[in-house]
């Protein structure tokens, strides 16, 4: 094989051309330092428009007495400083108390939903990490609740929990005779548990999915070595599975916590604008305050407080659990 080399005079001309080309700088948008910024620019732009600017505006709104009247002529809205915030935190006043109650409902709700979803998720994921016939089918089946649009998933539970024509009451009262009077599952304190059940049903496949993916990254040799060393399945789980899942769990739990604490869909689809107070999640609560009593300034203040709360919790969480150093955000 030979390489066809141009003759000498041609080569000299080539060199002049390539030298000239080298002298011409690449246009500014191709230069190396600029390219990454160009690549992230559209994403940043949309984030600014939809997330950042409205958020800042929301914070600003919280400092004004913004009601239905002043909404359309904001220049006339009175600047009230921190009055909205004071109203929201004064737990002796009706508004502050209601907000605090709502928080006190949301925290256990979130803990329960995240905890139960994770437990079911990990059991399902470890269960499916072993080869058996029909494994693929079962995996698909278990993902269905998450695949459904959120509102469909909740509506199903809403239907099942109906007092008179729902299946839950039919089974409990008429068939198993465990209770005599069919209860209202969507009212009073039972509403809380209904909400939890619906949310767990909806979220456990997500935990299952993430954990399954993470489990598949654990080399089987670890388990084999442990088995040779004499570890039982439970021991192997504690000593190998859980530690290896740490990075995935770190993110999963944080994200589940944030999504569920902020959850608007579940209570809204179940209860609409009037949730029973034992099931008054904070997101819906703020929505009702804003849109039903038309006090947007107050609603914004509450939202800001909610966000600050979440930021603090997340920061603490990350700091405390990030010791491993394997987690690069």
């Amino acid at each position: 094989m030979s390489v066809l080399k141009p003759s000498r005079p041609l080569r000299a001309a080539e060199e002049r051309v390539s030298a000239a080309a080298a002298a011409r700088r690449a246009p500014w948008w191709q230069r190396e330092g600029v390219i990454p910024y160009l690549l992230i620019a559209p994403a940043v732009l949309f984030e600014l428009l939809v997330h950042i600017v409205p958020m800042v505006a929301g914070v600003v709104m919280s400092l004004y007495g913004l009601t239905l009247f002043t909404l359309h002529h904001w220049s006339t809205a009175p600047f009230v400083g921190l009055a909205n915030y004071k109203l929201a935190v004064s737990i002796h006043g009706p508004i502050g108390k209601a907000l605090l109650d709502s928080f006190e409902v949301t925290v256990p709700y979130t803990v329960l939903v995240v905890g139960l979803s994770w437990v079911i998720g990990i059991v399902a994921a470890t269960g499916l990490n072993v080869e058996f016939r029909g494994r693929g089918w079962l995996r698909s089946v278990l993902l269905v609740p998450y695949a459904l649009p959120v509102y469909v998933a909740i509506i199903i539970w809403s239907f099942m929990l109906q007092r008179d024509n729902g299946v839950v009451n039919t089974v409990l009262v008429h068939e198993l005779h465990l209770i005599h009077n069919p209860p209202f599952w969507l009212l009073g304190s039972k509403a809380f548990w209904s909400m939890v059940a619906a949310a767990v049903w909806r979220w456990f496949p997500f935990a299952f999915l993430i954990l399954l993916a993470a489990l598949q990254n654990i080399p089987t040799e670890l388990y084999e070595a442990a088995a040779v060393d004499g570890a039982s399945s439970w021991r192997q789980f504690r000593a190998i599975t859980l530690p290896s899942l740490r990075p995935a769990n770190l993110v999963l739990i944080l994200v589940l916590f944030l999504w569920n604490f902020n959850d608007f869909n579940t209570p809204f689809v179940l209860f609409g604008n009037a949730p029973p107070s034992p099931a008054d999640l904070v997101s819906l609560h703020i929505y009702v305050v804003s849109f039903d009593s038309w006090n947007f300034g107050l609603g914004s203040a509450m939202s800001v407080m909610l966000m600050l709360f979440l930021i603090v919790v997340s920061a603490v969480y990350l700091r405390v659990l990030r010791r491993g150093g394997e987690f690069d955000v």
């Binding site: 094989m1 030979s2 390489v3 080399k5 080569r11 060199e15 390539s18 080309a21 080298a22």
Partner: protein, 401 residues
């Protein structure tokens, strides 16, 4: 006219580290140039500068007489074989090999012919329709080579292509690559940390350390006449034994601890500057192959023997590797450690055998299998004093004229 010329090539990273400093090299058409050195010596950086994957900070790079400093890789007429092969996982072997040709809008028929030819040279004909994921390590390596040779470039660049293969395969592929390169006759720039590859494959070998070129010569010259301590310790396996010795006042012998070796007149003639080291310490180098079992030698061995305590004897079938200790100061240079793991082992052996101070130095001798040398007993080793090496302890340079 050289095919590839590096003139004072320098690479300084934005954070200030200098990876390559003033590298001068020329690779002629058809020549196999090996760039060798320990990790971090800058060899891969140099290669990547030639490829265009790293920007050149200073210096000039010419390919076929064109200055290519600012040209992107695709315009430099080079082909590269990566350490991890970098085969496109979603394409078949045939598509992988022909990818570059397709980019240059060659007619499909030509591409098909060239791919077939390359596959034939490399024994890949039956695998053309498979994907890289289905191939073994050796086969993937060949595909990577096929991708390079089908380009018919001005130069091949190879970045440690054998380091991911197991030992036996490596030996086989070494020969294959050298053979292919000979057949194809393209200037080749080959980077490795393995000195055996360097010695067996290269027409010339360039030894690098900390970004600086130490010596560039034919393999045999590097072995027989290293310019400095680093090259001496790096080339040759097992690496050279290095001791601190003192030249006698008459410069006709060198003392190694309580023992002494005569310096033959021929050596004195070759290295006149030894005279300047009378009564002064020097670094003495003795290659393991230049030591033998004195019991098996005939003739006058006076002044040409060393007695040491044998720590370990490794039987290799054809020969014995004798690990021994002598009472002479060890050479404390971290550069020597860079030459190979066996040198580190020797330091460990000495450390474990001796009492703290570096008063005992370990060495390795290569003796034929018939020898009676056993571990745990002292042994008398004959030294080929005509092949002694001497280095200046101040800067590691070879003491010559």
């Amino acid at each position: 006219m050289a095919q590839v010329t590096l003139e004072k090539l320098t690479k300084v990273y934005p954070n200030g580290t200098t990876a390559v400093s003033g590298l001068d090299l020329e690779v002629a058409d058809g020549e196999f140039m090996v760039l060798v050195g320990p990790s971090g010596c800058g060899k891969t950086t140099a290669l990547r500068m030639v490829a265009g994957l790293e920007k050149i900070t200073e210096g000039t790079l010419r390919i076929e007489d064109r200055v290519v400093n600012d040209l992107p890789p695709k315009d430099r007429d080079i082909a590269m074989v990566f350490q991890n092969y970098a085969l496109y996982p979603h394409m078949t072997v045939a598509e992988n090999i022909g990818f570059a040709l397709g980019l240059r809008r060659m007619p499909k028929q030509t591409i098909r012919e060239r791919v077939q030819a390359a596959a034939g040279v490399l024994g890949l004909r039956e695998h053309l329709e498979r994907k890289p994921g289905q191939l073994s390590g050796g086969q993937r390596q060949r595909v990577a080579m096929g991708r390079a040779i089908v380009r018919e470039p001005a130069a091949f660049l190879m970045d440690e292509p054998l380091s991911n293969l197991d030992a036996k395969l490596r030996v086989q592929m070494r020969a294959e690559i050298a053979e292919v390169q000979r057949r194809v006759g393209v200037a080749t720039f080959y980077v490795t940390h393995d000195q055996t590859e360097a010695m067996t494959m290269g027409h010339r070998v360039a030894v690098m350390r900390s970004g600086v070129l130490q010596q560039c010569d034919r393999p045999q010259t590097l072995y027989d006449d290293p310019d400095n301590l680093f090259v001496a310790a790096f080339i040759g396996s097992p690496s050279m034994n290095l001791y601190e010795g003192v030249i006698s006042p008459d410069a006709d012998a060198v003392r190694l601890g309580p023992q002494a070796l005569r310096i033959p007149p021929a050596v004195r003639e070759r290295r006149p500057r030894l005279g300047a080291f009378r009564d002064r310490p020097v670094i003495v180098g003795i290659r393991p192959d230049h030591l033998s079992d004195a019991a098996l030698q005939e003739g006058d061995l006076s002044g040409a023997t060393l007695t040491g305590d044998v720590q370990l004897v490794e039987a290799l079938g054809s020969e014995l590797m004798v690990h021994f200790l002598i009472e002479a100061p060890r050479v404390q240079s971290e550069d020597a450690a860079a030459g190979g793991e066996d040198v580190e082992e020797r330091s460990d052996l000495a450390a474990s055998g001796a009492a703290g101070l570096s008063s005992h130095a370990a060495g390795i001798a290569r003796v034929p299998a018939g020898s009676d040398i056993r571990a745990g007993a002292p042994a008398r080793l004959a030294v080929d004093t005509a092949r002694l090496y001497f280095f200046d302890p101040a800067n590691g340079a070879a003491i010559r004229g």
